[in-house]
Amino acid sequence: MTKLTRRQLVLIGALFSLTDATMSVQAQMAAFARQHLWLVYVIAFLALLVPLWMLSRVSARFPGRDLFQALVERSPFTGRVLIFLYILYFLWIAARDVRLTGDFFNIALLKRTPVGVIAAINILAAVSLVRPAGIGVLARSSEIYGTVLFLIIPLVFIALFKDMDVSYLMPLFEIDPVGVLHGVWVMTAYMGDIIGIAFLVSEGVFRFRDGVLALGLATSGLLVISMLSVLTLSVPVMSAMTFPLYEMVRQIRITDFLDRFELPVLAVWATAIICKIGYSLYLICLGCKRLMPGLPGQRMVFPAALLIFACSFWFFENAVDMINMNLTMPLAEYLFQFVLPAVLFLTLWPKRESRG
């Protein structure tokens, strides 16, 4: 079993939280929270600290075991039911990411390539990362692409500095609390995917500090690029676009020969989201392994990947539904991100050793 280093875990957590929160949800959030997007991130960050802390406490009660193992060990039947539910949750995340990426590339870049082909290539790339060595290759890939992705953010800031207009932030103090809370509703569900890192730690203990660092890194990255988008595009334009952050990056012209700066940025982002699909795929296989003792998780990679592929098309009728579901699906996602971690925190204790 591969042991994750702290740096790898933090980067995995940050990518888990950040990668697909840069998509269409940004436009909805801008429509709700207007120029006060920063407030959405602050509230989402504080809210997500709660489940991360609860899961870190549960992990500390079962050192050397992952949360799936702890569930089965503590209560074989109920534990397996909960594992099955979390497998469905990670299946949902992976299917959503595959379809989101497929639709995005189909709309923005590869207009003549069918979504199915793009989705199949993404899935195949995730399989090739997970199948050979489980989380090991995936973690090392995250170290490379996660680092590059987070280095690009200040670069984008520098490149767009001249295009910023502070007047887009006005009126600064007229905060619409209801709008901000609507923004929090849609954004927290995306950032809440970070709870997956608590299930990834198989050796040692998932530490709250690592979770805070990962969430802090993702939140600050998202905050910077969202506010950059507001400052360069303005709220009305941003909320009318399908992929506002992509449109913002398209504005960058560094030199005459590098006038398509969005392509290297997209290349790094695409690899990062493939890593994220890989985390979900790995967690599905790990869940199956814990459901059926002795089942080799490595051999579940292909079947799980095909299931993700099929579900990514079956779940959503069209690309518009992918955007609409951002409003309603948090209702289901919060069950896994807040309610179930609270249930685990309150109920999952190690068995008492009998004395004498």
Binding site: W185, S239, F302, F313, L327, T328
Partner: protein, 79 residues
């Protein structure tokens, strides 16, 4: 089109089974993997054969949208 999509999916299943063919220690594990393949194929076949039929997340959205106070908002924002 339908036959091509189904055949490609079956080809992917065959490739997956061939890649893991000799490594199964327990028969029950192999059948578990086959069951997952079967579910994936059933979903794919349903999707390919009945394009405008039931899509769980889309239907769930329609069901829950009525209850959300901000359900009318969409990607276009407010006029």
């Amino acid at each position: 089109m339908i036959a091509r999509d189904l055949a490609l999916f079956l080809l992917a299943i065959a490739a997956g089974l061939a890649a893991d063919w000799r490594r199964w220690r327990k028969r029950s594990h192999f059948w578990f993997a086959c069951a997952v393949y079967a579910v994936a194929f059933a979903i794919w076949a349903y999707h390919v054969k009945a394009h405008a039929a039931f899509h769980p997340v889309s239907e769930l959205h329609r069901l829950l949208d009525v209850w959300l106070p901000f359900g009318d908002h969409n990607i276009l924002g407010e006029d």
